[in-house]
């Protein structure tokens, strides 16, 4: 199903960012906004010291407790980084994400902050780069700063993926199952489905693995990287279930729709396994 895009249709002030206070007041702020402890400081324009005097600027502080939310434009990298990740360019994505996270870190716990969304992208990059050890701590931070209820679940899905990559399927599987139960977001569910599939393959529950993997091409085929993983897993599960025709079909589809992916490069070896099995099952000449 289509993802619910975060609504950005507010056509508000000409200013890009604002502080919205709990009493309804709104204050436009610039890039000078900074935090110090429980206070947010920003430069504001003040009138001249006396009539006729030129306007001045001064820094004014506001208690964080007074702030209802930040209204910040979404950073451009929320579009560019996913594209890089989809192309498998995790290192490049990370090069954009790290500085953005550093910039946003002081505001991460405030409603309206983009920090959690950015950090989720970093989790994906870390998993792609095989830096699984860094995933769990970052996911923990996201859970405490989430602005959308699905963000902690998305983070947990990435944790489960990291655990699967490390071979810790006993820990990964229950996390994936909970995420599938609680999350309604397609992208999050896709990751959890791949994790569940991988864990069940370890347990030799071929059919359970197959049904989990197939959730991705059936419901979430947009994410090509996950799709490639899911189709490869599904093809392998079908092989173990001795449905060789279906396995061939799935693997050939992987070659077609995810050409160039690391998984597509493994297809030939899998097809050869199938060929070997078909030869083994053939009647003698």
């Amino acid at each position: 199903m289509r993802s619910l895009a975060l609504l950005l249709t507010l056509t508000l002030a000409a200013h890009a960012q604002s502080l919205v206070f709990k009493d309804g007041k709104v204050l436009a702020v610039g890039k000078d906004l900074r935090r110090q402890g429980d206070m947010l400081f920003t430069l504001v324009e003040l009138s001249g010291a006396a009539p006729g005097q030129p306007a001045r600027t001064g820094e004014v502080g506001y208690a964080v407790a007074q702030i209802a939310r930040l209204e910040l434009p979404p950073p451009a990298l929320l579009k560019t980084a996913p594209e890089l990740l989809a192309q498998g360019k995790a290192a490049e994505a990370l090069a954009q994400l790290d500085p953005a996270l550093a910039n946003q870190v002081t505001f991460r716990d405030l409603p309206g902050s983009w920090w959690a969304e950015t950090a989720l992208l970093k989790l994906r990059a870390l998993n792609q780069l095989g830096r699984e050890a860094e995933v769990e701590p970052l996911a923990q931070q996201i859970s405490t700063c989430a602005v959308h209820p699905d963000q902690p679940r998305a983070a947990q899905a990435q944790v489960a993926l990291a655990l699967l990559r490390k071979g810790q399927t006993a820990r990964a599987l229950p996390i994936a199952v909970i995420v599938l139960k609680e999350s309604k977001e397609p992208a999050t569910r896709a990751v959890a489905s791949v994790v569940k599939g991988g864990c069940l393959m370890e347990k030799k529950d071929w059919e359970g693995a197959l049904l989990a993997y197939l959730k991705v091409p059936v419901f979430f085929p947009q994410d090509k990287l996950l799709l490639a993983q899911a189709l490869l897993g599904a093809g392998r599960a079908q092989f173990e279930l001795s449905d060789l025709e279906a396995a061939k079909g799935t693997l050939n589809e992987l070659k077609k729709v995810c050409a160039g992916s690391p998984e597509a490069e493994q297809v030939e070896a899998e097809l050869q396994k199938i060929q070997r099995r078909e030869k083994a099952l053939a009647e003698p000449k």
Binding site: M1, R2, L4, A5, L7, T9, L10, T11, L12, A13, G24, V26, K184, E207, L210, L211, L214, K215, P217, V218, F219, P221, A234, Q238, D243, A246, G249, R276, R277, K279, A280, L281, E283, P284, K285
Partner: protein, 952 residues
């Protein structure tokens, strides 16, 4: 009152001016009061009275107001005409623009579509009017049923990109048009765009419904991939509600923002009021939509069900199951669950996943006992089991469903299915009972003939031949051309045979062949005819009939029976040449049949009886030439064994002349002097030298050596090994197997040799190499008769490597699932794995089974008893352990390795019981046994005795 002023200045008589002024005033009052028709009439009257063009030129606003009054009164044709007049007379009037727009609208509302189109087209270039212009043009073309033009206009509306609500509105229409024009790609592309710009879609529910409709129509047209793409675009109920809630919040925020700008002085009050009025209307509209959407049920289960069905129709059963599985897990109490569950079990049935189908059927019947498909599912539960060769389960299911669904419309099939299940199990009393039940409950049933015949058949199988004769005759009478008429004829002969009516059997058979020429059960008829002849010791007739039987047989059961019975009959006639010829013909005509090896055996015997063993060998070589290089033909190794056996026998010397033989015999009998004997044997050939079969084998195999590939060459070596075995040259056997392991890769060997070489390597302790051979056997020859060697061998390797759990899995497959040549070793292996895993009761059971199975008597018995001792020892039950160990070295002492181990372990147990003297006694006894002197346990025993200070 300018009009009055104008009228006053007009070149009109005063009285007319006064009248017209009054008319105008009255009409305008009516206009202001909203009495449009009256206003229009009055103003029209006024206009009609001003005839002077110069005066007319001064009352432009009146003409305009006439049009407005008609418009407001919904008198659109009149309004359009009035505005037309106004525009003609006053083309430069300041209100000309409004008049043109009003004229266009009135023309449209007057359903003058052809005329309205150009009027609205004129506004396409006006940014503020562009969308409305295009939308109305599209509506006009729609009303005129001009699809192509309508589409063209709507396509212009979409340019350059969708960013406004009006465009979204037009897009919905355009999508439907594309679809009806079979431009599904365009429809889908636009739908995707629309979904990507959801913020401008006013009514997301309408979009969703259109999307589902599009998906349905694509599915109907078998455009499966596109249908699925459409379904995936549908938003969930939560998404729709979230979207709408967020939209309302965003609009409210805009209203508040506008009010803040008002306070800040950035916008004026008029601007704010106007903008906020529109926004508030939008909020109101959005709230109404939200209220409607909140009342709507979740449509997602319906969409997922559709997706599952599309995948099913597309032939992608697993994907269909995945979709249905999702639906059942995530929307468990919806009305879509029943069809989803039913569809899922149909998928599993299509995929031949018997256990899963059964489980799904059970689940369906539990969750939907009165569901619309309950009857079908109940029947399927039994039918799928029967088809899978599980008659016991099928009988259970059919029986249960008959009880649970007494009104099932499939009751006939259920009863018949139950009867068939019992018949398959050989439970003919029960099967007949069910067939009779059917006949009683459904005297006019659709399966009456089946039931009648099967009831008779059950009676035959029960051996109640007299009753069976009656039943069969009743069937034949009722259904002379019935589906089972030929078979009934056969069963009647069987009954007569049982009653020793052999003559009738033969006569009936002749009649049968005339009535059913070339029937597929002709083989059975010939076989029973032959049986009748054989019962009367008419061997020649029996042999001929059996030969006909196997030639005409349509099943292996009949073929094998008739072939070998024919052989027996020919043997009884002493006609060995005929035996040989019959089997030779069989082999020639059925070179790949499983009985070829047995046939070759009989040919060999016959040829030897004829004194022509060379011909037997030649025939084997002919057969081998065909299949030597085909690894899956496992008969090759058996034929090579036969050849080795033939070569192992010294060829018979040529027969001596008769007189000489008498003289030799006479001399030998009377111990006549050597001279007499010498004379008598002067012409006898000298005693032959010791016979060396190896050159004979080599010579026989020579023609094969030329055409053998690696697989063939390995097999030829195997033949040599077999000959060495027959000659008890065990060291040479080991050498050959060493060569096979060293000089050939696993890929080159046949499954038989993979098995044997693997075992050889395992015995030598080369587990790594052995594993490769076993793995290749397992992977490449899953249908081999030697497959259990692989599982057993890999089990041994796993056990030796400390992987008891893995070993248990492998041994279980070998012992329980495959249960072939290695069943004994695999059972023992399984027991040992269980012992390692601490599962003592299960292990004990299996060890006891091995020890007590008569057919397995031998070393495995010694091993099993030894392990029973180990099992007791592990549990600290030393006296019981000792008893077992003692049994090993007393009753199975010829199995020296086990005896050696048993001595040492027995001593160890005695020691643990504090009975050192008995322990020492055991070890000394062991050392006295010279046969055990080279075993490592003997050295161990010496060391123990040293330690205990009891060295002898």
């Amino acid at each position: 009152m300018w009009a009055c002023a104008v009228l006053a200045r007009a070149a009109l008589p005063d009285s007319l001016v006064i009248q017209l002024t009054e008319t105008y005033t009255t009409a305008m009052k009516a206009f202001e009061a909203g009495r449009w028709t009256e206003a229009a009439a009055g103003l029209s009257k006024l206009v009609a009275k001003v005839t002077d063009p110069a005066d007319q030129a001064k009352i432009g606003p009146v003409y305009y107001t006439v049009g407005a009054a008609h418009y407001n009164a919904k008198q659109y044709p009149q309004a359009a005409a009035a505005f037309q007049i106004f525009l003609t007379k006053f083309p430069d009037d300041p209100r000309a623009r409004q008049a043109r727009l009003a004229q266009a609208r009135a023309t449209y509302l007057a359903k003058q579509y052809e005329a309205a189109i150009p009027l609205f087209a004129a506004y396409e270039g006006v940014p503020a009017m562009r969308y409305q212009s295009l939308l109305v043009q599209a509506e006009c073309f729609k009303a005129l049923k001009k699809d192509t033009e309508q589409m063209a206009v709507l396509e212009r509306l979409m340019l350059p990109d969708i960013g406004a609500a009006q465009q979204a509105e037009g897009a919905l229409t355009l999508i439907e048009l594309y679809f009806h024009k079979d431009q599904t790609d365009k429809a889908l592309e636009l739908l995707n765009k629309l979904h990507a710009r959801i913020a401008v879609v006013d009514n997301v529910v309408a979009l969703n419904l259109l999307t589902v409709k599009l998906g349905d129509e694509l599915a109907e047209k078998k455009a499966y991939e596109q249908a699925l793409r459409a379904y995936r675009e549908v938003r969930t109920r939560e998404q729709v509600l979230d979207f709408q809630t967020n939209r309302i919040a965003a609009l409210e925020q805009r209203i508040q923002a506008n009010q803040r700008y008002l306070r800040s002085g950035r916008l004026d009050a008029v601007q704010v009021a106007s903008a906020n009025q529109e926004l508030e209307a939008a909020v109101e509209h959005a709230r109404k939509l939200l209220a409607v959407q909140e009342k709507m049920p979740d449509h997602l289960p319906g969409v997922v069900l559709r997706m599952g069905r599309v995948y099913y129709d597309w032939g992608r059963k697993w994907e269909a199951i995945s979709a249905f599985d999702s639906l059942l897990a995530e929307h468990p109490k919806t009305k879509e669950c029943e069809p989803a569950l039913y569809a899922m079990l149909v998928c599993y049935a299509d995929l031949n996943r018997v256990a899963r189908t059964q489980a799904m059927c059970e689940r369906y019947l539990k969750e939907f006992p009165k569901g619309p498909n309950a009857a079908g599912v109940g029947y399927l539960l039994g039918a799928v089991s029967l088809e899978a060769g599980e008659p016991k389960r099928a009988a259970t299911f059919f029986g249960r469903i008959l009880d649970e669904q007494p009104q099932s419309p499939l009751r006939e099939q259920l009863i018949l299915g139950l009867g068939n299940s019992y018949a398959m199990m050989g439970q003919h009393v029960e099967s007949r009972r069910e067939y009779r039940r059917y006949l009683r409950d459904f005297p006019k049933g659709q399966f009456l003939e089946d039931a009648l015949y099967r009831e008779a058949l059950a009676t035959v199988f029960l051996g109640e031949y007299e009753a069976a004769l009656k039943s069969l005759n009743a069937y034949v009478q009722k259904y002379p051309q019935g589906a089972y008429a030929a078979d009934a004829g056969y069963r009647l002969m069987v009954c007569k045979y049982a009653g020793s009516l052999y003559g009738e059997v033969v006569a009936d058979a002749q009649q049968w062949h005339k009535k059913f020429p070339n029937h597929q059960i002709a083989g059975e008829i010939f076989a029973v005819t032959a049986d009748a002849h054989a019962a009367e010791n008419k061997h020649a007739e029996a042999a001929a009939a059996y030969q006909q039987a196997f030639k005409r047989a349509s099943t292996d059961e009949v073929l094998n029976y008739a072939l070998f019975e024919a052989g027996k009959q020919l043997q009884k006639l002493g006609d060995w040449p005929a035996v040989a010829k019959m089997f030779e013909d069989f082999v020639r005509d059925n070179p790949n049949h499983a009985s070829v090896v047995a046939a070759m055996y009989w040919i060999s015997r016959a040829k030897q009886r004829e004194g022509k063993p060379e011909e037997a060998k030649a025939l084997i070589i002919t057969q081998l030439k065909r299949d030597l290089n085909e690894p899956k033909r496992e008969a090759v190794e058996q034929l090579l064994q036969q050849l080795a056996q033939l070569c192992a026998k010294r060829p018979r010397p040529p027969a001596l002349p008769a007189a000489d033989t008498n003289a030799v015999a006479a001399a030998a009998a009377t111990n006549a002097p050597a001279a007499a004997a010498t004379n008598a044997v002067a012409v006898a050939p000298p005693l032959p030298p010791p016979y060396d079969p190896f050159p004979e084998l080599k010579q026989q195999l020579e023609p094969l050596a030329d055409l053998a590939n690696a697989t063939g060459r390995a097999r030829l070596l195997y033949a040599e090994a077999e000959l060495c075995k027959l000659r008890r040259q065990n060291a040479d056997v080991q050498d050959i197997y060493d060569r096979l392991a060293k000089d050939f890769t696993p890929e080159q060997l046949s499954p038989v040799l993979l098995a044997l070489v693997g075992d050889h390597l395992l015995e030598k302790g080369d587990r790594v190499k052995a594993a490769k051979f076993f793995e290749d056997l397992r992977e490449d020859y899953p249908k081999s008769n030697y497959l259990d060697f692989a599982f057993n061998g890999l089990g041994e390797i796993a056990l030796a490597g400390g992987q008891a759990r893995k070993a248990l899995e492998l041994f279980t497959t070998a012992a329980d699932d495959l249960a072939a040549l290695k069943i004994k070793d695999a059972t023992l292996g399984k027991a040992r794995a269980l012992l390692e895993l601490g599962k003592y009761p299960e292990a004990k059971k299996l060890f006891a089974q091995v020890a007590s199975t008569r057919e397995w008597r031998g070393e495995s018995t010694a091993a099993a008893v030894f392990y029973l001792g180990e099992l007791e020892a592990k549990q600290g039950r030393y006296p019981e352990a000792i008893a077992h160990y003692q049994r090993v070295f007393v009753a199975y002492q010829k199995f020296l390795p086990w005896a050696a181990r048993a001595y040492v372990r027995g001593a160890d147990c005695f020691d643990k019981l504090g009975k050192r003297a008995e322990a020492i006694g055991h070890l000394r006894e062991m050392l006295r046994n010279a046969k055990l002197k080279d075993f490592p346990e003997t050295e161990q025993a010496r060391k123990l005795l040293d330690t205990w200070g009891a060295a002898s």
